[in-house]
């Protein structure tokens, strides 16, 4: 039974006079407030926040939480988002006093433990990338992209080169062109592909002395490893450009191959994806970048340093690289998320990290095989950690769209795959099972899809039937945006 307090808004629960938090009386001498703050600066009324009790708040939000699907409650094969299990030890460890309560301006002397973990994390990220320079400042993958592009811009400016263009394939995440535009570059999109891979003739036709950076997600959003990546990198390097690897799909290649070894000059990680920082209902992320040695001096600071003192003791410190592009955000970075990633890597070790990719790729290939007879995969028989199936045939023959399948899956107790992305596959269903799912779950998911496509298409257009909502009216939302609750007059 659904509790009323979930469907009501917090504001509708409010009653004047109710209280939750209470604070002690001031223990300093009482003075009129106007002695402290000029009257003109003082508020004339209190902000009209709701007035509720603590039990109100708890029941309301606990009930709201039950309206969500989540990794802890459901299989969540949202392609490109790596919805893997979030180990509970991380939450406890990230809450240890000394870590959770450390002020960002605490002195390095009183932050040695924090700096040691950050230093070790820097080293591990460099090793997994095969790229020596690491900045953990970016708050998310998209900020990592932007940071790296600013590093590239500064590098070229330093060399007296005027390069204005960033190239990317049409299967790229939207963040790639958005970041390039914000960094002040012109965007060049490659529109052809050879079976899901970059078209080398098209790339060649766009490369010239204006090329700054070629951005590529490898494995791609289609779940394909770009086999000719070394050739591609050479083509870009031959015209003096840099190669950027979008690391959104690193879960497929940990310990298998490294961006630095296949020609990448810069890359970002998504710690909340690959290294299981929880997704937090949309974030926080953390998007460290790794770069080649000749770019390391341009990274944003601070970077963690390790020095051996004459007496043998080790001291960790902070420094800003000499030719830095400057700060990207306040303070060090999304340390709380980095800490969870660190705990993960320390738990796994080298073998465990490789086993992640082994099993992520096995699970994806298995699911592909189980589904291909009902949902063809235009890009073929093999994939890395994810694949993109197409409901195009179903749409034409039965009128069942990717969206219908996605919505109906919710009734079967599965979160939907990513739909309608990448744009290059019609009626796309992008599935990423991750390594933390069992064969039984994958079998049940495949069986659900097999069942769904035998259902009445007209009925499918109305799905889901069991959740707290069904087919919200996006048009109404968009035409008359209601972005906050307003008290009824």
């Amino acid at each position: 039974m659904r509790n009323q307090q979930a469907t009501q808004l917090l504001f509708e629960l409010s009653k004047p006079g109710r209280r939750a938090a209470r604070y002690p009386m001031a223990d300093v001498p009482d003075r009129p407030l106007t002695d402290l703050i000029p009257e003109a600066q003082l508020a004339t009324a209190l902000p009209p926040l709701p007035e509720v009790t603590e039990p109100d708040v708890i029941r309301h939000f606990v009930n709201l939480s039950t309206l969500n699907m989540s990794v802890d409650t459901h299989f969540y094969p949202l392609g490109s988002c790596t919805m893997k299990y979030n180990p509970k030890r991380h939450e406890r460890l990230a809450s240890l006093p000394g870590l959770v309560d450390l002020h960002p301006y605490q002195t390095p002397a009183a932050s040695q433990g924090m700096l040691q973990f950050l230093y070790e994390m820097q080293q591990m990220l460099a090793e997994i990338a095969g790229l020596p320079g690491v900045s953990m400042q970016p708050a998310a993958g998209a900020q990592g992209e932007l940071t790296a592009l600013l590093v590239a811009a500064q590098y070229f400016r330093d060399r007296g080169e005027h390069r204005t263009k960033v190239i990317f394939p049409n299967s790229a995440h939207g963040t790639n062109p958005a970041s390039a535009a914000i960094a002040g570059f012109e965007c060049v999109q490659l529109n052809q592909s050879e079976g899901g891979y970059v078209s080398l003739p098209e790339l060649q036709s766009q490369l010239n002395d204006q090329t700054a950076v070629f951005m590529i997600t490898n494995p791609s959003t289609l779940g394909l490893f770009e086999r000719r990546i070394q050739t591609i990198a050479k083509m870009v390097h031959d015209v003096g450009g840099l190669v950027y690897i979008d690391g959104a799909n690193m879960n497929a290649i940990l310990g298998i191959t490294r961006p630095g070894d296949f020609g990448g000059d810069m890359m970002h990680y998504n710690v909340h994806k690959t290294f299981t920082g929880p997704h937090g209902a949309g974030g926080p992320g953390s998007g460290p970048i790794a770069v080649r040695d000749f770019l390391a001096d341009y990274l944003p600071g601070p970077i963690v340093t390790k020095e051996q003192q004459p007496d043998g003791t080790v001291v960790y410190g902070l420094k800003t690289p000499s030719k830095t592009i400057g700060r990207m955000r306040t303070f060090f970075g999304n340390v709380g998320i980095l800490l969870r990633g660190y705990c993960y890597l320390k738990t796994l070790g080298a073998e465990g990290v490789k086993a992640v990719s082994d099993n992520a790729v096995l699970n994806a290939n298995y699911l592909l095989q189980k589904l291909k007879h009902v949902l063809p995969v235009p890009q073929g028989e093999r994939c890395m950690h994810e694949f993109v199936a197409s409901a195009q045939k179903l749409k034409t023959e039965k009128g069942i769209s990717a969206m219908d399948i996605a919505k109906r899956l919710l009734d079967y107790g599965f979160h939907a795959p990513t739909v309608y992305f990448p744009l290059v596959v019609p009626e796309a269903l992008m599935m990423e099972p991750t390594e933390t799912e069992s064969k039984e779950t994958l079998d049940a998911f495949a069986a659900a899809i097999e069942q769904i496509i035998t259902e009445d298409p007209e009925r499918l257009h109305q799905a889901p039937f069991t959740g707290p909502a069904s087919r919200p009216d996006d048009l109404k939302a968009g035409r008359n945006p209601v972005l906050k609750w307003v008290a009824k007059a």
Binding site: A26, L46, G174
Partner: protein, 452 residues
């Protein structure tokens, strides 16, 4: 240990279905042999949960956290009290192991919570629209400036007060340096801006004026006059505010801000060495479609029931790509949730109490510290919960004496780059939250008295 499920037998069965004999073949089919890393990664050996906890606990013990020492540190991150109920909700894994609410029907909990967040932030600030969060306070300033540049097409001059957090200003420089615009910083030697001087710097090319209230030094700017000056020049007034000051001070919506942003860490997010924090961004309704970040909207579903969706998505990078309002993809959902619960628990009266306690205690601390030989208030201006002390003869002695007695103060102004650096080198910030007691303050004062 990899949190894996499948037994060796199941793996074999799955490989058979894939038509290969080993996982290795799945890779060798796809990744060219000469690109393979043919050695184990160089990483520390794996640890059990027990070992890991022991190691992390040892590392944590080397740090001077705010729960073991007494924290008077400020500069944009503060040791405010976090009620237990905030953690109870934020550790619900139905929230923290879900992702962006792309499938509205599977995410009504998240969507409604963020809709409530947007509403609470509007109530708190008096602004008309709030997004569902940005990365943190510093980048929010840059996003606000980008919004202004987009909204006032053609105007390329950005005027920022020297009293805005130096790291926020650095971020702005990093982001604007490649774009064709002019960044003008107005010095604030008196600790606050001179309104006449600001007016003179605003012209018909100015897209926006950026003000922090209370400012980095803790002082209160003449926010209303500054916003009015921006308006008069046809520019947008941007303010970076302290959310917990709004139980006491005028709200950005009250004094005419066009865009108001904030670091939301003080709304229920722990210090955790600087992040993840919460970027708040609000604006007037006319600017709604120029906003970066997610927006949640109310609508009805197929059966006419109220529900919530991601709204106005066409602004965002996954649709508009290089023409998007921002490259932001993730938001700070979990921190926005913490802020939502925190604000719900406080209500108007709790908010008032926190604001007032911090303000009263800070003034007591300032009065007492000013009596210590060698210390004085650097700027004789009204302030809220944070103030700048001048340490004659340098800040090092003060930092050391405080630290030795178990107190952390700062940051020292010399940590940052200033255009008028020499004058500020003796400055030290002191922040006082509702958590500090009169006894804490008295002992800090005692520890700073000159040892003879």
């Amino acid at each position: 240990m990899s949190y894996l499920f499948n037994t060796p037998e199941q793996q074999q069965e799955m490989l058979r279905v894939c038509g290969v004999d080993s996982i290795e073949t799945l890779f060798s089919d796809q990744v060219p042999a000469d690109l393979r890393l043919n050695r184990p990664l160089e990483m520390p050996p794996p640890l059990s949960e027990l070992e890991l906890e022991a190691e992390l606990t040892a590392l944590a013990h080397q740090n001077g956290g705010a729960s073991t020492r007494t924290c008077f540190l400020g500069g944009g991150a503060y040791d405010h009290f976090i009620p237990a109920a905030v953690d109870t909700i934020a550790t619900r894994s139905e929230f923290y192991t879900a992702y962006t609410p792309y499938q509205a029907e599977a995410s009504q909990g998240t969507l409604q919570a963020f809709f409530e967040y947007q509403t609470l932030i509007c109530q708190l600030t008096g602004m008309e629209v709030s997004n569902a969060s940005l990365y943190e306070g510093g980048t929010s300033v840059t996003e606000a400036v980008s919004m202004a540049l987009r909204s006032l097409n053609g105007r390329r001059r950005v005027v920022v007060l020297g009293s805005v957090h130096p790291e926020y200003r650095e971020i702005l420089v990093t982001h604007l340096q490649h774009l064709n615009c002019e960044l003008v910083t107005i010095p604030t030697p008196a600790g606050v801006a001179d309104v006449a001087q600001v007016k003179a710097a605003l012209n018909d090319q100015t897209a926006c004026l950026v003000v922090q209230q209370p400012n980095f030094f803790g002082c209160l700017e003449s926010a209303a006059e500054l916003m009015a000056a921006a308006k008069q020049a046809g520019a947008l007034g941007i303010v970076s505010f302290d959310p917990l000051s709004l139980g006491l001070l005028q709200r950005p919506g009250d004094y005419g801000a066009d865009i108001a942003v904030a670091e939301g860490q003080s709304l229920g997010t722990p210090l955790q060495y600087g992040g993840p924090y919460l970027g708040i961004l609000t604006c007037r309704e006319a600017l709604m479609r120029k906003m970066p970040g997610r927006l949640i909207g109310e609508t009805t579903d197929r059966l006419g029931k109220r529900c919530f969706v991601l709204n106005l998505q066409a602004r965002e990078q996954h649709i508009k790509r290089d023409k998007a309002t921002s490259n932001i993809c993730t938001n700070q959902g979990l921190l926005a949730l913490r802020a939502t619960v925190y604000m719900s628990l406080l209500g108007p009266h709790g908010l008032r109490e926190v604001s007032e306690l911090a303000c009263r205690k800070a003034h007591y601390a300032a009065d007492q510290l000013a009596k210590v030989a060698g210390l004085e208030l650097m700027f004789p201006q009204p302030f809220f919960k944070e103030f700048t002390v001048r340490c004659k003869g340098g800040v090092d002695r003060v930092l050391k004496q405080a630290a030795a007695a178990g107190f952390d103060v700062g940051p020292e102004l010399s940590r940052f780059t200033w255009s008028d650096g020499d004058k500020l080198s003796e400055g030290l910030l002191i922040a006082v939250t509702e958590k500090r007691t009169r006894a804490d303050i008295d002992r800090l004062v005692e520890s700073l008295k000159m040892k003879t």
